[in-house]
Amino acid sequence: MVTMKKENSRRSFFKNISLASLSALALNGCDSKALTEFLQRNFRTLSKKEKNDIVKNLEVKYKETYGKEFHVSAEPAMEGVLFGYALDLSRCIGCRKCVYACVSENNQSREPQIHWIQVLEMEKEKGIDLAHSNVHYNPEKVPEKGKSYFPVACQQCRNPQCTTVCPVKATWQEPDGIVVVDYNWCIGCRYCMAACPYGARHFNWGQPNVPAEEITTEMHYLGNRPRVKGVVEKCTFCIQRVRVGKYPSCVEICPVGARKFGNLLDSESEIRYILENKRVFVLKQELNTQPKFYYFFGI
């Protein structure tokens, strides 16, 4: 480790004191709550009590903003759980119901629009051809003859590149395998977006906007709580749902049952049955990102 040389010169004293007074002046405009939030440490370094205080404060704040009761959770990962996901490509009909169920559950901004799930349309005869896929397909009815559909969201890599490039450690992999973002700690540099080979991270270019009557009030600090302009967000396997035992929203909405979810460490789970009995593949295997999101052809 490199140790920084301590400099106690008169020059550095003046430099620091002027910086400190400038920041004090800048922060003077904020009320005490905003100040506390601004000075909040990285989520991972907080004690249980500190986390609880923070989520309680957020509940109050959101109630003031949206005029509704909210429940914000800081539920930690369950012991002995590693989440995995499987998607049956032969069943997907490209209806995009998952896209909008996700938007609604996870409070993605409606305008400007953010979608965590992209459904790619491909020519069947070309196989899995990401380069020529089309995300804007819009026929009257799906599935269309000769087309196949390929939904892509965060692949929840075991070896995620997005987290390693983050200069402030605002994104990391939780013990249950979910890659999360602390929106309070994110500085919006978008390095993670550049590092992600799946286009799974999305940036709030504008002030996100979710209508109060549509907002999902059951929240997790690391999941679907409202974001602000200038931070990155991504799929969390619906962390607010799966950490209390529920299936992710996209699994429950899928009209053809193409989406499967469960605990990779439980040999009795659906996901393990799929891994053991179906031929699965991961997207861009050659990059060694080791996704926990598996694709397969059920028929």
């Binding site: 009909i93 209806c95 819009n138 009815k141 035992g245």
Partner: protein, 192 residues
């Protein structure tokens, strides 16, 4: 010394044997619970639409059609394959389930219309229709039992709700119909 040893030997052997039996039984019990994953059908009223997406309910009958015996008791069964007119002509019109080779009474019992019928002749309640489907689609039945074919809702680590085959597939015309997709994402060039 030797006598003492004999004295404790018998109960110990007995205890070990009963423990062995106990473990054996428990094992069997545990195995059974694992194997039986067939869903239980709730005794609930038939509801069409949203509600049946989330819970297993009774099979989705058309309005006022069940019990079949209401009409069929007074009719003489006619096993001849034919195009139906008047009653059930809607089913005749849509029927697309190996149409060439099959006919109503391959699945519906000829003499007791309130029951389905397996190839073996065994009568089957409508609630167990998945067994009938499984006669031909065994692989699908196997996948469905473990939650891989079809949809499960509820808890990934606990209580789950299932759908029967017939909740998603019309048994008379099982192929999925096309549906309208949700709107595509906004194109980058269309963002103001």
């Amino acid at each position: 010394m030797h006598k003492n040893y004999e004295y404790i030997k018998r109960p110990v052997v007995l205890m070990a044997f009963s423990l062995f039996l106990y473990i054996g039984c428990r094992q069997k019990e545990a195995d059974n619970t694992k194997l039986i994953q067939v869903p239980e059908v709730k005794e609930a009223s038939i509801s069409i639409g949203e509600a049946q997406e989330n819970a297993i309910e009774l099979p989705p009958f058309s309005d006022g059609i069940f019990p079949c015996s209401d009409c069929h008791t007074d009719l003489t069964p006619n096993p001849v394959k034919r195009e139906l007119v008047d009653m059930h002509d809607d089913i005749s019109a849509m029927f697309d389930h190996d149409k060439e080779n099959r006919w109503c009474t391959d699945c519906h019992d000829l003499s007791n219309r309130d029951f389905l019928k397996l190839a073996s002749g065994k009568l089957l309640d409508f609630k167990e229709s998945y067994k009938l489907c499984g006669q031909c689609h065994g692989e699908k039945l196997r996948d469905w039992k473990v939650g891989v074919h079809g949809k499960r809702t509820g808890n990934w680590n606990g209580k789950k709700e299932y759908l029967l085959c017939v909740h998603c597939h019309n048994p008379h015309s099982p192929k999925f119909q096309q549906i309208a997709p949700e709107p595509p994402p906004i194109r980058q060039e269309d963002i103001n």
